[in-house]
Symmetry: C2
Subunit: 200 residues, 2 copies
């Protein structure tokens, strides 16, 4: 089995959401596993000086249109959240906490959180909404609420995000295959060739 | 014949160069013509607050790698210019001047300028290098040199670029099909579907 694919994403990223709907099938077609790694765009923005898309004149307007069109292009159900973007630190902490206990369930939680935000319109910046989504997967809401305030979980999440940015992860989605970085769901064609043929 | 495709690009844009190598074939396959419209990213950056890719931490490093890999992916000969990015106002003025005299030759000049910069490594920020490229196409270097200093040519170029930015053109390449905007050579898959099927 070759090395897993690193899949970095922010839970508030539309293109990350689209990628999340496609990454497992792409990886499986090439007998790879996916290492889901939530990151925080806000931390990356501090390193790059970039800003959330809706805050960028002209590009923001275009992007709102492109989110919807790209979702239709990929055949993925998508609803632009009323509150956008949002802080996703609680969602990321919930993921990394659960990953330490049950990695498979942590991935299921990541998918469920993405779906809650981009299909149901649930504001997952709120810890109680993260807990609500986790409860559907059989995770104790009380344990999750405690974990979100656990300094060790905070530290683990911070380390994961800082390490990602230190490695050059500046956007979402950001996919690393055998050390080769690919930014954007619009690099899936290049990722596919890389997985099929190796370096080009 | 349906309306032509508007193809906006900056002569210093690697992704614009890649798009320039593909746009005519894509348009012709759908019986469209291409309206080549050089713009100036520097003017767009003033509107958006964005910066040239090499100036952006992390993203700049990634982009230099992505330029080369994307060129290989598309099978396009590409050499990263030693001086990058550059001012392309002379190249844009040369284009818009020639367009007023011989639109077909102006497109040939655009292709030749892109090739000179991204394949030959000629610094086309220099008016004398723009003239050298134009001379190969049978354009008088003296007339071109005069045109680059002609206030009417400067005004025409400024108007074209300002109008583009006012319409929301913030990057390169930027392609508009029947009013629908597409940013990036990585939107060619969506453009192709739009041309084939209409709006989606």
């Amino acid at each position: 089995m070759p090395a897993p694919i690193d899949f970095y994403f922010d839970f508030s990223s539309p293109y990350g959401f689209l990628a999340s709907q496609k990454i497992e099938a792409l990886a499986a077609a090439h007998r790879r596993e996916v290492n889901w790694r939530p990151m925080l765009l806000g931390v990356a923005f501090k390193a790059t000086g970039m800003a959330p898309l809706p805050h960028v004149p002209l590009k923001g307007t275009y992007s709102m249109r492109d989110f919807l069109r790209s979702a239709r292009f990929h055949g993925i159900a998508y609803r632009q959240p009323a509150t956008f973007p949002i802080s996703t630190v609680s969602a990321a902490r919930a993921y990394y906490w659960l990953q330490g206990r049950d990695p498979k369930k942590a991935v299921a939680l990541a998918k469920a959180l993405y779906n809650a935000y981009f299909a149901e319109g649930l504001d997952i910046s709120k810890p109680e909404n993260v807990a609500q989504v986790a409860r559907r997967l059989g995770v104790s809401a009380e344990e999750l609420a405690a974990a979100l305030n656990d300094p060790a979980v905070k530290e683990k999440t911070k380390n994961e995000v800082d390490t990602a940015v230190a490695k050059g992860v500046f956007g979402s989605p950001f996919i690393v295959v055998d050390g080769e970085p690919f930014w954007g769901v619009d690099r899936f064609d290049q990722i596919e060739r890389w997985l099929a043929q190796g370096p080009f």
